[in-house]
Symmetry: C2
Subunit: 347 residues, 2 copies
């Protein structure tokens, strides 16, 4: 009582359990039990305490509770490029799922800088997150990450595999996506199908090529070296390489493109040769960027569904929190075929 009277004088600090206890004429322990909805408290007592909580506009101090309980209600989310709509959607999905489970999101954006990433992680670690979802910056050094993250924190890595780490990992199923796109073209009646664009030394390109080859082989179709064309994964470079598709004798009637940017570039390249994409030639993309639906013709593509991936990442991490640390788990997310007008039957 004495202390409460004193603090009532300055009247500036937010009320604490002590203030509520004094106001309701009970002990702090009882207030705490009411806050945590314990069934031990008598209904009358509970009602009195709750009235006092409302009267004083009490706000729970979760940091203090977490300190005492040695728990944490925060999850760190570190994103390589928040200005990329794909990752922004991913972040929104993570935040949504975490919020529903009562966690708060500690955000960090690294802008693809490994140095900034180290600084951001070091800062977030001081806030005792219960776990971390990391979409790593390019050229991240797993050893440095290990040094700043320690060995106890539950971590889920998204999108980019780090060499030699043993963290859980969630990535897009590149192979299945490309397989679906290829199967779709085959179903439409195409037989001579190229795989167009991307750098063959990138892992995502290799995986997508593998999916393409799988679908071709499933259908008993052969592939040809001249149908495997490399370009930078950009619109411009893709447009420039268009002629390579039509150099051989076995000209393809369709192409599975490495991604949407490549597909849009190929559309430009086709138009420059007097061919109309989506009529004279069928093509698919990968990613479903916003422009894919707006292109002429609208682009059939593989949707990565970043928001759903974000929710999935949050769920995988929370599962890990509830378990003993086992073997690292690799999860691949299902891609989804988005059929639009760019994939007609062969002319």
């Amino acid at each position: 009582m004495k202390k409460t009277a004193a603090s009532a004088k300055n009247e500036r600090h937010a009320p604490t359990v002590s203030d509520i206890a004094a106001g309701a004429g009970v002990s702090r322990a009882t207030v705490s039990l009411v806050l945590r909805e314990s069934p031990l408290v008598h209904p009358n007592t509970r009602a009195r305490v709750q009235a006092e909580l409302a009267k004083q506009r009490y706000v729970y101090n979760r940091a203090a509770a977490n300190l005492r309980r040695r728990t944490s209600s925060a999850i760190a989310l570190v994103i390589n490029d928040l200005s990329n709509p794909f990752f922004a959607e991913f972040a929104a999905g993570v935040d949504e799922a975490l919020g529903h489970k009562g966690y708060v999101t500690l955000l960090g954006n690294t802008g693809e800088s490994p140095e900034r990433q180290q600084a951001v992680l070091a800062s977030l670690m001081e806030h005792t997150p219960a776990g971390l979802i990391l979409s790593p910056a390019e050229h991240s050094d797993p050893a440095q990450l290990r040094a700043v993250l320690g060995t106890h924190l539950p971590v889920l890595v998204f999108n980019r595999k780090l060499e030699g780490d043993d963290w859980d990992f969630l990535a897009l199923d590149n192979a299945r996506g490309a397989e679906m796109a290829t199967a779709h073209l085959i179903e439409r009646g195409h037989r001579r199908i190229a795989f167009y664009g991307g750098h063959a030394d990138s892992s995502s390109c290799r995986q997508r090529r593998a999916g393409y080859e799988q679908a071709m082989s499933n259908a008993g179709l052969r592939t040809r070296a001249e149908w495997m064309i490399e370009t930078a994964p950009s619109r411009i470079d893709s447009a420039a390489h268009t002629p390579a598709l039509f150099k051989g004798r076995q000209r393809p009637t369709a192409a599975v493109c490495y991604n949407d940017a490549v597909a849009l570039g190929l559309m430009l390249g086709l138009a420059a040769r007097g061919m109309q994409p989506g009529r004279d030639f069928a093509l698919t993309g990968f990613d479903d960027i916003p422009e894919a639906a707006l292109a002429t013709p609208p682009l059939t593509t593989i949707a990565a569904q970043p928001r759903a991936r974000g929710r999935q990442a949050a769920e995988l991490l929370l599962e890990q929190l509830g378990e003993q640390r086992g073997k690292p788990r690799q999860t691949t997310a299902p891609a989804q075929l988005q059929v639009r007008d760019s994939t007609p039957p062969p002319a």
Copy 2:
């Protein structure tokens, strides 16, 4: 010493100041002083403590420090639509500026739902943020916000003014942006300039119209009611209303469009009438969405620079933290003219 020995046995908890103190043979107070880089500590002692910190891989527990010091190193950032690249960039700017000042960002995304916004804010408030940057959901109720935020928390509202609140506010300078766009067209030699698109009952449209009228009047040019054309702020509706521009006798040679979507729609509408935008007719946009630079012709527009706005929001809030609470401050951010090919001199 006894306690440390005990906790050394289970060997699972992260080391605390007590562990470091025991290891270095000093008191916890001394460790704390070293951590806070106090000059009071003897260099030899400091070195011993620092060696011990490194050896035990000590991680500072900022939550505990904040509790004791009654401070907070977190800023809540609540965004109405993180999947909109404009707000994602804004969030990235906020996080960047906060990170540089040693704050961590508590993220919440409301998806334009006032109910979700209340829930998100209530949850974030329990984490004792030092302040809040709020980009409000549509149809937010200021009274409800006040109820959940209390009266002490420093708040900066971004983008959407809330009626009757007294929080600091940062918004785009709609009037100056439209004024710059209009002045640019005048400078290019246009005299008959329309204001095209938007709903005249929205505050942003009114402000942009005011800027347009200001520039016209500054140049001694008159405006006409038939040059003020309303459309929904969408591409489709904008395209559909194109004929309204050319009904009168005084046909405009240029238009200041409400935003980029409207400008892109008008381009379509002009093309449908056999006019070539950027040659037969000049037009400007507003927002600088990614497609503006990719349009044919590339669109002259007003760039809102969301990332810079995010940094600015963070700085304004941190200023407010350092001051006595004064009158609410209204800040308008400078828009920037992005000159591209859509604004040639009159034909």
